[in-house]
Amino acid sequence: MPVQEIIQRCEELFEDLSFSSVRAWKEAEPGRKVVGYMPIYVPLEIIHAAGMLPLGILGGGDALEVIHGDAYYQSYICRIPRSTVELGVTKRLDFVDGMLFPSICDVIRNLSGIWKLMFPDVYTRYFDTPQNFRSDIGGEFYVNDLRELVSGLENLGGRKISDDDLRASIEVYNESRRWVRKVYQFRSEQPWKVPASEVYLLMRAGQTLPVEDHTQMMKDYLAAVENEDRRMKDNCRVIVNGSFCEQPPLGLIKSIELAGCYIVDDDYMMINRLITEDVESEGDHLLNLSEAFIKHSMAFPSKFEPNGEVQGHYLADIVKQRGAEGVIFAAPSFCDPALLDQPMLANVLDERKIPYIAFQFAENSGQMQPIREQAGTFADSIKLWSAA
């Protein structure tokens, strides 16, 4: 399948705020259930093992006019909860049977309460991942958390989730994450062949499609893109950081690239690759999922780093690992996790003499000229004035 065809399909999924493909999946067989989730992380394996389709809810983007949503939040709160409320109030999510709100920030936690009040018939759960990373403390807490989720989804689906179901789902997601890592690795090695906007759309499609279909899509994409004749340009290599929850408009990602930057790593769609190694598929599956999160999950601002010696080092480590030349902090306005961590991350970058710039966006930002200007001058400063 040609790259253009794959990306066009991804773009259709991305733009469809009625979630037609998910509705079609649900209607294809009686009794099917859809469980929505918000960024950054929920254990999709359990939803999958329950025979349900996980659906990533990432706000309304720049195409949705928020009218009702503004009534629920103060003006100094980011936009994703407003547009998510808007999606709910306008019945765009009326087919969703359950909603999971991970512990990313107070706003999303409070949104779980709003959801319960607005949609009492929807299985709604605030999903609290541990902030203690000892297996016997945080790990045990998390296993119990997962057990409650399993129980909740069993009630919702009207059937038990067996060990075999969990094992199969863990294997399916292990394969998915392997391919996600391959896509990211390939982009890091040959970013001129894999534009960030395409990777973004490809990863975003994983929030809507059944995981098996998404894995196949990634395989098809990598096979197709290898043969694409795309010229290498003299762009600088950057990491984009801070966009793990509310998503930037696609135009912003394209603007960064057009301005002369190859994005060689990012924190968009972290759920696709937050677990960095295969989850053990034999033994106690909930314990295995817990251990994967405790021991093998990527660092992100909503996750506590107990070791003060390495706090904030993860970004600089990614810069080194990817051979990047700079960092672009692109955080949503009013995003507490991203903006509160930014000074700490920037301090480490300063210590390691890694250049960076910072700007903020909202999911409906329309004016890209300032972004182009900042990213363009940043790229020039790296290309012309860096020591390398």
């Binding site: 762009n235 057009l258 363009g376 001058t377």
Partner: protein, 282 residues
């Protein structure tokens, strides 16, 4: 010796230059400017580049680095793109090594840039989103007055009693001009009034970048507008301007962006070769 091309895709015209570079020595071989006039700027850029190559007796394979600037970032065939501020700064130093500031006045924006002797940008300010300090605004006015863009400068110099127009907003300024036409104010006096208003705005931008003395080079499409250059000089001469800058033009000012792109392209070509050599050595 290598050859590099700089292509500046502006809103009103595409400027293309071709340089040869040998170590620190550079030779400017070809220059071409094409007004866009409702044509596809990207096709035009490619055509202009091909004409430049033909004129130099070279083929595209002989070019070590095709550098774009302005709106040229979407050109598929470029090697690298540089932001227009970076290229105008470098181009200005090439055209006039004494200048330490640049006023780039294009079709859609005006921009003051403070630079060092290497052409490195130290500070800049732009005319945000309002078009009242730009070429597009002047072209609109020319249309109202029934004159061509090329006539603007000469007519402005004929003014004997210029009328002041708004320097804040292009919409207000255009309304002012329509009123002036209905009051039978002469075209030279209207144009001079506009030039004075633009000059005041551009001098403010310069002051905002902490440029109050030394030589400033005008670049961009409006650098060749004699009326604007005269208004700038008169503006500086006014003690209220709080500046003693020396406003300079150059016959090739319009190529500053393209020149900067070509020269930075040569620099990058060399730097990338050094990096590759370092990698091989390690």
């Amino acid at each position: 010796m290598i050859h590099t091309i700089g292509i500046d895709v502006g809103t009103g015209a595409v400027k293309t230059v071709l340089f040869s570079a040998d170590g620190g020595k550079t030779d400017w071989l070809v220059k071409r400017v094409e007004r866009i006039r409702k044509r596809d700027p990207y096709k035009l850029a490619e055509e202009t580049m091909n004409k430049a190559l033909e004129e130099a007796g070279l083929s595209v394979d002989d070019i070590a680095y095709i550098a774009t600037t302005g709106e040229g970032e979407s050109l598929a065939f470029h090697t690298g793109h540089f932001y227009s501020m970076t290229t105008h700064a470098r181009g200005a130093i090439y055209l006039d090594p004494e200048v330490r500031s640049v006023l780039d006045i294009g079709a859609l924006h005006g921009r003051a840039i403070r630079i060092d002797e290497r052409g490195k940008v130290l500070e800049y300010r732009m005319t945000s989103q309002c078009a009242s300090g730009t070429g597009q605004f002047l072209e609109n006015i020319a249309r109202y007055l029934g004159i061509t863009s090329e006539e603007i400068g000469e007519l402005s110099l004929e003014a004997d009693d210029p009328e002041v127009v708004s320097s804040i907003c292009a919409v207000l300024a255009e309304t002012d001009v329509i009123n002036m036409v209905s009051r039978s104010i002469s075209s030279p006096n209207i144009l001079k009034g506009i030039h004075i208003s633009m000059a005041q705005r551009l001098l403010k931008l310069l002051r905002a970048t902490k440029v109050t003395d030394g030589a400033v080079l005008l670049t961009g499409g409006l650098a060749l507008d004699k009326g604007l250059v005269a208004a700038m000089k008169e503006g500086v001469a006014d003690p209220k301007s709080k500046t003693t800058v020396e406003v300079r033009g150059h016959e090739d000012s319009i190529y500053a962006g393209a020149i900067g792109a070509a020269l930075w392209g040569a620099f990058r070509h060399e730097k990338l070769a050094d990096i590759a050599a370092l990698k091989i050595a390690s």
